[in-house]
Amino acid sequence: MLRYLAKRLSYYAALLIAAVFLAYAISAGALQPRTYFDAKLPRPSAESVERQLTALNLNDHTPVVERFGHWAGGLLHGDLGRTIHDTPVTDDFGRRVWVSLRLLLLGSLLGTVLGVVAGAWSAVRQYRLSDRLLTVASFVLLSTPVFLVALFLKNGAIAAKDAAGHEVIPFTGYETPGLTGGIGAHLADWALHLLLPTISLALGGLATYSRYQRGIMLDVLGSDYLRTAEAKGLTRRRALLKHGLRTAVIPMSTMFAYSFLGIFTGAIFTETIFGWHGMGEWLIQSINEQDVNSVVAINLFTAVVVLASGFLADTLHAALDPRVRS
C-alpha cells in the first residue's frame, strides 16, 4: 500500500509543478501590472514604473521563465513574492487562508457525508415517498448554481431581518466586529456566521453526491455478494452496512477529489456574496488590480488543496479496496 501511495504522490508532485508553472505563465501573460502603475495619480515617471515593476518581479520585459525562476526560488524559502501594493503576499495569504478553509472544509465535509447518507438511504427506500421527495429536491438543487443558492439564502435572511426588525441570522462577514464576551460567545458568533455560507456550499455537494450514491447503491443492492452475505445469515442491515456501503463508497472517493475544485469555485461566489474576506474575494480583487503574485498564490493554494484531497481519496480507496494495494 505504501508503494502505491508513494507512486501516486510522485505523480501528484509532477502535476503540481506543471500546474503551478502553467498558472504562472498564464497569469503573467494575461494580467498587466504595468497598467496599474500607469493609471496611478500623479502619474509616475516611466523610469520609476520600470524600477517598481522589477522590484516586484512583475516586469514584463523580463522573460516569463526568468520571472518564474525568481518566484520559485523565493517559494523554496516560503516567500510568495510581494503584492502590487508592495506588501508580502504571505501576509494576505495567512490571514485569508483560515477564513476560506473553515468554510471549505465544513461545507465539503457536510455535503459529502450528508450526500452519501441520503443517497444510500434513498436507494434502500427506492420508489417510496421519501425517495421521490429526495430525488425531486436534489434535481432542483442540482439545477441551481451555487451563487443563486447563496443569493436566495441571503435574500431570505434580509427578508427575515426586515420582518423581525433586527438581524435574525447574520449574512455579512464571518464575525460580529467588536464583539465582547468569553470564548463561548465568540464560538457561537462564528457558528452563526458560518451557517448560511456553509449551507449554500453543502447543498450543492449534497445533491450531487446523493444522486451518485443512490445510483451506485442501487447497483450494489442487486449484487450477488450481498445476497450471499444475507444467505450466510447476516441481517439485511448488517449486510448493507458492512458489504454494501463499503463497495458503494469506493467510486465516490474518486469523485470527491475532483469535486473539490467545484466546491472551491462555489466558495468564491459564496465568499463574495456573504462578504467574507477569504481567498475567493481576494482572487476577484487581485485580478481587477492586475496583481500577478497574489493570483499565482491563490492558484498554488487551490492546486495544493485539490491534490491533497486527491491523495486523501487515493488513500481512502486503497484502504477500502484491497485490490488497489497490490
Binding site: 500546474a19 443563486l148 443569493l151 442487486g222 493570483v295
Partner: protein, 340 residues
Amino acid sequence: MTVVTAGSTTPAPAPAGRPRATGRGRLVLARLLAARGAVVGAVLILLLFALAFGGPYLTPWDYATPDFTALHQPPSAAHWFGTNGVGQDVFAQTVRGLQKSLIIGLLVALFSTVLASLVGACAGYFGGWADRALMFLVDLMLVFPSFLIITVVSPRLRSSGWIAFVLLLALFNWMITARVVRSMTISLREREFVRAARFMGVRPLRIISRHILPNVASFLIVDATIAVGGAVMSETALSYFGFGVRPPDVSLGTLLAAGTSEAPVFPWMFYFAAALLVLFVLAVNLIGDGLRDALDPTAGGAPRRFRRFRRSGSATRSSRSTPSSSSHSSRSSRPQRRRP
C-alpha cells in the same frame, strides 16, 4: 424460473428480408416517453425555447430601449415582468438573456463533447505514450482551477466578444467526459469487430470514427445533454461577476447581477431571471436522466427490476424466515443483466 426468460427483452436481430419489428430509435423513444420526468423536461425545454426565440416578437419593447415614463414599475399589462431602474422592459431583457444563455450553453456543450470524444478515443485507442501524455494533460487541467484561468484570461478577450467566451468555457469543460470515453474505448478496443477491422488494415482514425465513437454515442448524448445545463450555470455564474457576457449584451447572468442588489425591494428584477435559469437547467437534467435510462436500461438510474426485488426482499425480512425456497424463487425472478 420462467420469468427469467420473460424478463429479457432484447429484440432479436431481424433476419434479412423481413421488416424489423422495432428499431432501436423507436425503442428508445418509447422508453423515453414512458419516463415522466423526461417528458416534463422536454415540454419545458420546448416552452423555454419558444419563449426565448418567439418572446421578442410578443412584446413591443426592445431589450435596450428605456421607457422613461416607467421606472422600477412592478409587472403590469404594459410591462409583463415590470421595468428596471432606467425603464427597460424586464420581459424583453429576460427573453433576450435567456436566448443568449441557451445559445452559449448549446455551443459549449457541442464543442466540449467533440473535444472530449476525440481526446478520450485517441488516448484509449492508441494507448502507450499517447495515452499517458493525454491523461497527464487531462489531470493537469482538472487540477487547474478553470474558474481562475477564465477570470484571468477573459478580460483580455473582451474585444472578441462572446464567441471567445464560449470557446474558453468549452476548453475547461471536457476533461471528465474524456476520461470516461477513454475507459470505454479501452474495453471496446479488444472487442472482435474492432480487432477484425484492425487486422483488415483499416486505418486507426477510421476505426475510431466508424467503430469506436458510434459505440460510445449513447454516453456522449447523455453527457452532452447534461453539459448544456452545466455550461449555462457556468456562464451565468461568470457573467454574474462580470467575467463572462458583458453589458450592453445581456444574458441571464448579467440580469441576475443587475437585479441582485434590488431584489429585496424590486423582486421582479431578480426572480424572473432566476426562475427561468433554474427551470431551464432542471429541464435539461430531467431529459438527461430520462435519456440515460432510455439508452441504457441497465445503468443505475431507476431500474424497475429492483422494485420487485425490493418488495420481495422486505417481505422476507418481515417474516424473519431463513432463506426459504419461496424467497429464493422470488429473488431469482429478477431479470438477468443484459450487459455483454
